[in-house]
């Protein structure tokens, strides 16, 4: 299996040190923005995923907050990536910081000097070398403090980016860091547990209702269903068109993509309850207006894609109608597919709703076979406590557990091992159980 190469139309992950970003490589003219840097992506085409590129300054424009730089990207070799520390060959360091007076004047270079350096030197190591040379306190600092300083500067002036293929693992990190609310606050540990507790795998038929996670939840479930398997997913959502960014970014084989059926909650339930009446070619005249109505409802989350990541927001909508107006519309076919799976019942239910879950559970629980997992995600504990009591009272679900998580990352370095100073505060809550007959 050779490493796949970067193609037009791909979503790519751009990594600069620890910073990662999801970007659509839509055309050869596509540029990506990393802070004040703009990157031209055209040289990525056909290069293997995992490659590292050097940012080469082409142009500097004055921007609102300092200079805005445009860069071309040049494929570079591993040997160029030696650590800045080695390049600089720093040796002398103080034993502790008792002699350091932080009077804010330790750096002799002025900001304007540094800006000029930046344009002159093509390479972060040179800039950092100059900064170190002009720092009055650097050599009096402890080794630890020197490293901290170098890391900080390296981060600012680091000129390499790596291009990686999107995976669920990379995307949940990006989404959660950029705007956790856009994925309903589903943290990595919680996502991993949704996959476990729901039992989603290469066999079986799965039901998901989510009210907007940039496609992360359906993507993670379809990823676990796998390519070339018999598993299927019905993905219900409250909006006009589903959020699918993460799903598209995975670039799954078509046969796998087609085993994810994305449908509007209202519309598919009507199809399910009343589908027998309106036969295949018999397009119910009210449906389109219903979709419109839902789009206008302010309470139900819409499918807004973050502009910065996916500029052509409305594209999936056009795709939806590409079958033309002759036969049944795509959403109608999907509704029929979903309704058939609903009648056959599901092997688990995952619910991640921005709405109150009670009514949704009431509608969807009967579609789940007995002895199957139910997983309800929420960020409001009080609400899930209530749902717990309600489910317990029905007697239809057993083994109920309400859980949340602590996730701590560690810095493990010789003589400097400790949990990271900051941690994420909210994992959300999972209510899990098993259906009964």
């Amino acid at each position: 299996m050779s490493t796949p190469s970067i193609q037009l139309g791909d979503y790519i992950v751009i990594q600069r040190q620890k910073y990662t970003k999801l970007q659509k490589f839509g055309s050869l003219d596509t540029t990506a923005t990393l802070g004040k840097e703009t990157l031209e992506l055209k040289s990525l085409l056909d290069q293997p995923y995992g490659s590292t590129f050097k940012m080469c300054v082409k142009e500097t424009k004055p921007g609102k907050r300092g200079a805005q730089r445009q860069h071309a990207l040049e494929l570079c070799s591993e040997t160029e990536l030696r650590s800045t520390r080695e390049l600089l060959g720093i040796s002398s360091s103080g034993a502790d910081n008792r002699d350091i007076c932080d009077d804010g004047e330790a750096q002799a270079l002025k900001p304007s000097d540094i800006e000029q350096l930046r344009e002159e030197c093509n390479g972060s190591s040179k800039i950092i070398e100059k900064l170190v040379e002009n720092s009055k306190t650097f050599h009096a600092r402890t080794e630890y403090s020197q490293e901290k300083y170098l890391r900080k500067k390296e981060k600012k002036y680091f000129e390499f980016v790596q291009i990686r293929q999107p995976t669920i693992r990379l995307m949940v990190d990006i989404f959660y860091r950029q705007d956790a609310e856009k994925i309903m606050g589903i943290r990595v540990d919680t996502l991993s547990q949704i996959i476990s507790y729901s039992g989603v795998c290469g066999f079986g038929s799965y039901l998901l209702y989510e009210s907007g996670t940039n496609g992360l939840l359906p993507a993670a479930m379809l990823n676990s269903i796998g390519a070339g398997t018999e598993g299927t997913l019905v993905h219900m959502h409250p909006g006009n068109v589903p959020q699918k960014q993460a799903l598209l970014a995975l670039k799954l084989p078509l046969e796998q993509q087609q085993r994810c059926v994305s449908v509007n909650l209202y519309s598919v339930l009507r199809e399910f309850y009343q589908g027998g009446e309106s036969k295949e070619s018999d397009v119910p005249p009210t449906e389109p207006s219903e979709v419109e109505t839902q789009e206008a409802q302010p309470e139900t989350p819409t499918e807004e894609q973050p502009e910065s990541i996916e500029p052509s927001t409305k594209k999936p909508k056009l795709d939806d109608n590409q079958n033309g107006s002759k036969g049944p519309l795509r959403w109608q076919l999907e509704n029929k597919k979903a309704a058939a799976l609903m009648h056959a019942k599901f092997d688990s239910l995952v619910l991640a709703a921005k709405e109150h879950p009670t009514n949704i559970l009431e509608a969807l629980l009967p579609l789940v076979k007995p002895s199957r997992p139910v997983v309800v995600f929420g960020t409001c504990k009080e609400l899930l406590q209530e749902t717990y009591m309600e489910l317990k009272a029905t007697g239809k679900v057993t083994g109920l557990h309400l859980t949340s998580n602590w996730l701590r990352t560690y810095q493990i370095l010789p003589n400097r091992t400790h949990p990271e100073v900051n941690m994420s505060g909210n994992s959300g809550y999972l209510l899990t159980g098993y259906t009964l007959k």
């Binding site: 995992g50 540990d189 039992g199 795998c201 083994g399 859980t403 602590w406 996730l407 990352t409």
Partner: protein
């Protein structure tokens, strides 16, 4: 055979979870007869706190049904790796669902993946790997304890999972993961007292196109040495973390509301005073609330993850 895929009815030979309560469940084999200590074949009667179950009676029953015990009832559930882990007799220290979920996620295990695991231990984690990688992937699991390897192999067979797993009895720290696996693995998982000794073998087993690595260690020193070794061999994206799950115990709490306003006024000399006070004291407010159990898991282990980047020459 009840671990392969979702099924609706209990067949003879299935492992079935007999679910009595959140804290009491058993994994039983749905066979009508068993052989007792004397070598006699006798009807399979399973004893619980709520009386006995004639196991023959559950064959053919739909999963999720309620079944009668001699002194109560229970539900029969199809086993999942989660339920299996909870019913496991603790043959070795096992890893639980929160850590396992993170391991599967970070190792990017999905159908088709080739995963190397050491040690097999109770096979609890293996069941999760198998669920995630079947029907197109393969698990290679190693244990240095022969009886344990044999037991796991037999268990996977009974669970209908043999096609997707190879069990090895082997000391991987000294002998590695066999040459056959060189460059074959998408992911390697280590749960060993000295993971650093197995890191070079993990390095060899991972594909040339790269792969993911995880080591689970109870003590920080093991992680420290493991990370040193990983760094030396060119692994990157090295992160260590802990995942701790908290259960919320949900209950309704009733709080008395006391009235203190009446104390500002002199008491009238009649009886009403007392009844007034006790009436005030009887007012209550109810809260649906939750708290952690008194004792929580405070530590399970440190999870260290790393990536082997593509195209690192393997000497």
């Amino acid at each position: 055979m009840s671990f392969l895929k979702p099924k609706t009815h209990i067949e003879k030979g299935d492992v079935v979870i007999l679910y009595l309560s959140v804290s009491s469940m058993h994994a039983i084999e749905a066979v009508p007869e068993i052989v007792n200590k004397k070598g006699e074949t006798i009807p399979h009667i399973f004893q619980t706190n709520y009386g006995s179950l004639k196991v023959e009676n559950i064959i053919g029953v739909e999963y999720g049904s309620r079944v009668e015990l001699s002194k109560g009832w229970a539900h029969v559930l199809q086993p999942t790796p989660e339920l299996w882990t909870q019913t496991l007799p603790h043959r070795t220290q096992i890893i639980y669902t929160p850590d396992i979920s993170m391991i599967l996620h970070q190792l990017e295990v999905r159908p088709g993946a080739v995963v190397v695991e050491s040690g097999t231990g109770s096979g609890s984690l293996s069941h999760y790997f198998l669920r995630a990688l079947k029907p197109t992937g393969q698990l290679h699991t190693f244990d240095f304890h022969e009886a344990r390897a044999d037991q796991a192999r037999e268990e996977f067979r009974r669970h209908g999972l043999s096609d997707f797993v190879t069990v090895y009895h082997r000391d991987v720290c000294n002998l590695g993961f066999t040459d056959d696996l060189d460059g074959k693995a998408d992911a390697v998982f280590l749960d060993l007292p000295a993971p650093d000794l197995a890191v070079p073998h993990a390095f060899k087993a991972l594909k040339l196109s790269g792969g993911r690595f995880c080591s689970f260690s109870p003590c920080i020193e093991q992680s420290q040495r493991c990370i040193q070794e990983l760094t030396k061999l060119g692994f990157n994206e090295i992160v260590s973390m802990e995942v701790l799950q908290q259960e919320s115990v949900i209950k309704t709490r009733t709080l008395p509301v006391i009235d203190l306003e009446f104390l500002k006024q002199p008491k009238s000399n009649d009886a009403p005073t007392n009844s007034e006070e006790s009436k005030a004291s009887k007012e209550v407010k109810k809260y649906l609330t939750s708290s952690n159990p008194q004792v929580l898991p405070g530590h399970t282990g440190f999870l260290t993850f790393a990536t082997l980047p593509p195209n690192i020459p393997k000497a």
